[in-house]
């Protein structure tokens, strides 16, 4: 049934190496699987750190006029939380998944540029270290400030010398600059790998959708990270060399920064979201026991999203005072994105339709994702509706919306991906009972927190306020929002315990526990360093289906 031969002796020493040797191994490795897992493990660590920061934020906002943290501390918390979640949780998870899975899915030995791959990881980790080190290092010689407190999109001129003394903003700038270089090296690698190292027979239109989507995401990174880097360099010139790009007191433009940031920042949302789609597009077919409905439509829709997302950035700036023509243009482009996104949702639904849906953990996560992503999409339409957005932007409604996208959408898919590929990466299954607790508790906590969070925004509560007075109808809603966090914390604790425990004591997985169809399930779990002894013949998008069902192979219908 499966091509790999379990009898092949693995090149492993008989005695388990010491901890120092193993750590050294991690530092010098250029193996895409090790780097992928290092990316994911680091990202999960920062997820916990930045998540705990969010918990302090919610503790402070649970009651009106609360005094748990000082205003400046609060402002640092939401700045570091946002920056860390986007750049040091979202981005490395994307890089980790594509690193681990792309070569396996296309039957390759490794990524195209293994050393560049390792370089990308260490740049990311260095960037993250800069951000967190700012808590200690940023006061610098001048003694002002601690961690950055300018918000994750750091609107000028709050970042100027006049309003941000000390070095906190410089740490923020540098951590993005450095991690941007890491992301770019990971992006070039994914594209080169997917275009140059596919196994014989795997045409572009036979690549797993996961690989397709990671290619699209990598291409997007090429286009959108340079403007961010450029903006950071301009900011550094302003702060250190007396430049005036954003210094409004010398004729600079505050709006220029907004354009630069969001021309990166909006496509970035899709850079984070499409890998979620990528996981869902692998998981939903396998657990519905049907191929993805409309493969080429999915590829087309993903590419459309990538293209259109480059032209929507100013919808973050509807209240900035653009002309009515500018507002109308960006409204139309933003609404247009809902068409390819809708196509995807319908294709996933059609994949399940007529199938035999197995409610395993990965599928449960994807079902929650479908429901939540629908809501996130609809609130997205509300935010694209310019006059409505004049109310909603910069309130808790928009905070709820993008957490719905990134947690309800992306993170649930990532959870699904973890449950789905953990057996491949470790050779052991995750415990199903603990997994159910995790998914259930996190689902409840997520909805308590983020469903409720929309309403204070409608009641006039702006984002990024460290406290509020009672009497505007915000108190109970904020309390419920904060209570939801408790469920999420317990849920994540279940996941963490499950990961640690199953690593040693989990049930043996075997090569192909889900009866799946893409190439990574053709090798052993965990895969050997060289990945494949022999790569099965690829004659369709589901090579293992063809092997398992010689009487009714896919390639007959292509």
């Amino acid at each position: 049934m499966v091509a790999a031969n379990p009898e092949i002796p693995l090149a492993r020493p008989l005695v388990s190496p010491s901890i120092v040797t193993r750590l050294h191994g991690l530092v010098v490795t250029v193996d895409h699987k090790k780097l992928g897992l290092m990316y994911i493990a680091s990202a999960l660590f920062f997820l916990v750190v930045a998540g705990l920061m969010a918990s302090v934020i919610r503790l402070q906002l649970a009651l009106p006029n609360n005094n748990i943290v000082a205003p400046d501390t609060f402002n640092r918390l939401f700045t570091v939380h946002g920056t860390a979640m986007v750049f040091f949780v979202g981005m490395p998870i994307v890089a980790g998944l594509s690193n681990y899975l792309v070569p396996l899915m296309i039957g390759a030995r490794d990524m195209a540029f293994p050393r560049l791959n390792a370089f990308g990881y260490w740049m990311f980790l260095f960037g993250a270290a800069l951000l967190f080190f700012s808590y200690i290092g940023a006061p610098g010689l001048s003694g002002h400030g601690s961690a950055p407190d300018v918000g994750w999109f750091a609107y000028a001129p709050l970042t100027g010398r006049a309003f941000s003394r000390g070095n906190s903003t410089d740490y923020w700038t540098l951590c993005l600059l450095v991690s941007g270089i890491g992301s770019l090296s990971s992006a070039v690698n994914v594209i080169a790998t997917a275009f140059g190292m596919r196994s014989p027979g795997m045409t572009l239109m036979r690549m797993p959708l996961f690989v397709w989507m990671m290619v699209v995401v990598s291409a997007m990174m090429f286009i959108v990270i340079p403007p961010l880097t450029a903006a950071q360099i301009m900011l550094l010139i302003d702060r250190f060399l007396g430049g005036n790009f954003f210094n409004t007191q010398s004729g600079g433009s505050a709006v220029l920064w907004q354009h630069f940031f969001w021309i990166f920042g909006h496509p970035e949302v899709y850079v984070l979201m499409i890998p979620g789609f990528a996981c869902a597009s692998e998981i939903i077919p396998v657990f519905s026991r049907k191929p993805i409905f409309g493969y080429s439509a999915m590829v087309g829709a993903t590419t459309m999203i990538a293209f259109v997302s480059m032209g929507v950035w100013a919808h973050h700036m509807f209240s900035m005072g653009m002309t009515s023509v500018g507002n109308t243009f960006f409204m139309i482009s933003t609404m247009a994105i809902s068409v390819p996104t809708g196509i995807k949702i319908f294709n996933w639904l059609a994949t399940m339709y007529g199938g035999k849906i197995r409610f395993e953990l990965p599928m449960l996560c994807c079902l929650a994702f479908l429901f939540q992503f629908l809501i996130a999409g609809l609130t997205g339409i509300m935010l694209a509706a310019v006059p409505f957005d004049w109310h909603l932007t910069d309130t808790y409604f928009v905070v709820a919306h993008f957490h719905y996208v990134l947690i309800g959408g992306m993170l649930f898919c990532i959870f699904g991906g973890i449950y789905y590929w953990f057996p491949k990466a470790t050779g052991r299954m995750l415990n199903k009972t603990l997994g159910l607790w995790h998914v259930a508790l996190f689902f409840i906590g997520f909805h308590l927190t983020f469903d409720t969070m929309h309403i204070p925004g409608l009641l006039g509560m702006p984002r990024r306020i460290y406290t509020y007075d009672p009497g505007r109808g915000w108190e109970l809603l904020n309390l419920i929002t904060s209570i939801g966090v408790v469920f999420q914390i317990v849920g994540i604790a279940c996941l963490a315990w499950n990961l640690i425990r199953s690593l040693r004591k989990g049930e043996k997985a075997g090569d192909d526990p889900w009866d799946a169809w893409t190439l990574e399930w053709a090798t052993t779990s965990p895969p050997p360093e060289y990945n494949f002894e022999t790569v099965p013949p690829v004659r369709s998008a589901r090579p293992l289906w063809d092997l398992k069902h010689p009487e009714d192979p896919d390639w007959k219908y292509e």
Binding site: A70, Y155, A156, G252, S338, K356, L370, T467
Partner: protein
């Protein structure tokens, strides 16, 4: 129980009537136009939600893996161009209709032309308070925007010119209009046209530094005819008289105290940041204090403007609004008493 917990923390804004900031309770033209449009958007989204969730629930229950399953794989279906076309074209039509309606509402709100009778006000955002200037009336105040009520028969909207003295802010009164950012080096504008007299609350809506949370704004809509009275009371001349009377004719014990308080004010650096019309205090960094006691709040909404809070505010502003740019002036208790006596005369 939760409500009780919340309310017990601090009743700073328990002054009732003005506490609504609900975008679904609009008052006046731009907010009303946005509200009507919003309802349409919500209705469209609700229909889409019901249809897609219905499909999802149906699919998941109807096609779940059953215990009595025969173990065979289901029929393998790869897609259908007709179906793909259907769920491409239908959303395009919905989006097309929505964009038309949206474009109309954008133009209706954004391209409104001020009628000749419109009141013109300049709002300047500062870290962390609002300066409010009436260029045609010669009045300057802070944190509270006073406007006349607009009669639907004879509309009298207020057009705001938005400027910033430092970083980006955003001006938002949820019941009266959507928000417009207040950006340095850029002239933005917006308008409101309230039709019900009363007080309307709002917050600065763009993160602007440490005290972004305590940068509140109030719009006081005066009933027909009363706005002119307010303007008359705010005229620089009217203020000078009161202040001079209080400060220059010390003919009682109270007035001696006021005189002493005036000396405290003018002998410390208060004058470098604050203006009091008709005196040598002409600082521009902080709010104009000429009619301080005519305002409802202190510190841009940090506290209600009562004599006790005023004393606490001047004693050490960092207690009520940590991080704000007004320093603790290190006055003695006696000086504090005198200074507050003086400030209380600025009405």
């Amino acid at each position: 129980m939760f409500f009780a917990l919340g309310l017990s923390a601090s009743p700073a804004f328990a002054d009732g009537a003005s506490s609504v900031t609900n975008i679904f309770k609009p008052d006046g033209a731009p907010a009303r136009a946005i509200f009507d449009y919003t309802m349409l958007v919500l209705a469209v989204c609700a229909v889409i939600f019901v249809i897609v969730v219905g499909l999802l629930v149906y699919t998941v229950t109807r096609f779940r893996h059953r215990r009595e399953d025969d173990g065979q794989e289901p029929p393998q279906v790869y897609g259908s161009n007709q179906i793909e076309l259907a769920w491409t074209v239908i959303p395009i039509i919905i989006v097309f209709v929505l964009t038309l309606v949206t474009a109309r509402t954008i133009a209706e709100v954004q391209n409104a032309v001020p009628p000749p009778k419109a009141l013109k006000v300049t709002v300047v955002g500062h870290q962390w308070w609002w300066e409010i200037r009436y260029p045609d009336l010669g009045v300057v105040t802070a944190n509270e925007l006073h406007v006349p009520v607009s009669d639907p028969a004879q509309p009298r909207p207020t057009f705001l010119k938005l400027e910033s003295a430092d970083v980006a802010h955003s001006f938002w009164i949820p019941q009266l209009a959507g928000k417009t950012d207040v950006i340095p080096n850029r002239d933005n504008s917006m308008w409101i046209e309230p039709v019900t007299p009363g007080t309307y609350l709002g917050n600065c809506a763009e993160y602007c530094g440490t005290q972004h949370a305590r940068m509140l704004i109030r719009v006081i809509v005066h009933p027909q005819g009363e706005f002119e009275n307010w303007v008359a009371a705010q005229k620089p001349d009217s203020a000078t008289d009161t202040n001079l009377v209080a400060a220059q004719k010390p003919d009682s014990a109270t007035d001696t105290q006021v005189k002493a308080g005036r000396d405290v004010f003018f002998s410390t650096s208060c004058v470098n940041c604050h203006t009091i019309n008709g005196t040598e205090a002409n600082g521009k960094f902080g709010p104009d204090l000429t009619h301080l006691m005519s305002r409802q709040t202190l510190g841009s909404g940090a506290a209600l403007n009562t004599p006790e809070k005023l004393r606490a505010w001047v004693r050490n502003p960092q207690n009520l609004k940590p991080g704000c740019y007004m320093p603790d002036m290190q006055l003695t208790d006696e000086e504090m008493d005198q200074l507050v006596r003086y400030l209380l005369t600025l009405n």
